[in-house]
Symmetry: C2
Subunit: 303 residues, 2 copies
Amino acid sequence: MKIIFLGTSAAVPTATRGLASIAIRRGGEVLIFDAGEGMQRNFLLAKLGINQKMKLFITHMHADHCVGILGLLQTMTLLGRNKKLDIYGEPRLHEFISQNIRVIKFGLSFNLDIHIIDKEGVIVKESDYQVSCCRSEHSVPSYSFSLQEFDRPGIFNVAKATKLGVPKGNLFHKLQHGEDIIHNGMIIKSVEVVGPKRRGRKIGISGDTRPSVELERFFANSDVLIFEATYTQDKYQNAVNTFHSTAIEAASLAKASKSDKLFLTHFSSRYKDPSILLDEARTVYENVELAEDLKTVIIPYTR
Amino acid sequence: MKIIFLGTSAAVPTATRGLASIAIRRGGEVLIFDAGEGMQRNFLLAKLGINQKMKLFITHMHADHCVGILGLLQTMTLLGRNKKLDIYGEPRLHEFISQNIRVIKFGLSFNLDIHIIDKEGVIVKESDYQVSCCRSEHSVPSYSFSLQEFDRPGIFNVAKATKLGVPKGNLFHKLQHGEDIIHNGMIIKSVEVVGPKRRGRKIGISGDTRPSVELERFFANSDVLIFEATYTQDKYQNAVNTFHSTAIEAASLAKASKSDKLFLTHFSSRYKDPSILLDEARTVYENVELAEDLKTVIIPYTR
């Protein structure tokens, strides 16, 4: 699994940072969180694939998080996508897309399934992962998302099982899934031939929000938390007034949620050098980095 | 007067070229032609000024020419514009802006006057210039634009007029505006004290179009013609099918219209190096250059 930041500026783009968008590539699929204006450019540069299996999640319907949907859909059409695209967001997402397709009159070369989010909980459940949403605290209806992989059985030691005389088939399956067996009058324990369970990874994405106890719970034990850090602490009142977070608040929430690693993103364009946000965050939480446009992060199994 | 190219790619942005947008700065005002997705980024980098007197013209309502309006309006609001903004385009422009303002719910910090273009002719007349439109040949209703400065009187040689004994006031005014006068029994000719008339400059902007005789007339005697050159000549049939022009067609039209200088823009993203378009254009017309994002061109008085 890898994370590729496609846009890391808040509200207004800068010379080096486009508007909000994050891609996660895992298991042959691309999951995109937010599509700020112009994100298709980094999407193309990152070579994420026009015709990949793909889902797009929109945290909220502010222009700097959703306007890029239009260009992305059009470019996918121009470049010949034919696989269905699933897109998730609050009710106005449907109106935004359908009105613009009608007014700008652009056809799509693929089916677009718009899934309206109207409550918290699991919104996508695939065989090996799920995506959940939690209301965030912003000036318009907005959601944070988490991607949670399901735990997988440990690695099965085929050679050892074969050496113990276990035949392939049903008994292999039982051992792999944690059952002890009796074979040729001998007890063979699952733990003898199966490594420790591989814990699924969890990635949290805040969208725009004030910090909250709900989000602290929602992001509990994330392998990676990507949290907005619009402001330095001296602009705390701006953060409160505009329903955003400071870098220190993001770091405090990462710590409180026992997340392993924090990426700060969504920086106010007033910070020519956002390393001041990193410095502030480090005063409360060590394992933190700044997101950069097109920065790619490989997420290993760590627990 | 200077021209600043804000986006020069057709349909899909590339690493170095954003979507269609051209700015002209003259006399304390900024005129912008088209606003493809993401153009606000180069608009900000070019430091054109958030609160300038400004007019925005949209050639047609394809996403790659109009989606950038939304981000531009929002950024202007965030950065505190308070001067009225005039925007010109075909009827769907009004629907595009009003629907998106309603759905994405973004307020504006300034008045927006949307002027609907429904016929050819002069659409803006200021004291020193006018902007006209002409239907272009594209797959949707679309317009080309021309900016025409009015001729100005020649430079008045105050010292010489004074030396000839002409008093300031009415007689100055008459001489300045081409009238000969009799003063102290002496005939003084306007041409003795006034330089040659300064011809206004004319800039033509094609938008997306097939070449046509109408456009050749419309762009007649331009100082600068900015014409789309989506394709090389071997893709002539693509140009016909998609209502675009080849570089050679753009050059031929520049030549036929007796334009002084041609800039090619709106290059298909298939051309990693669009200099092939320049080479082709040069086979029929010498004074031609490629537009580049953020390239700035000063337009002198040349005639």
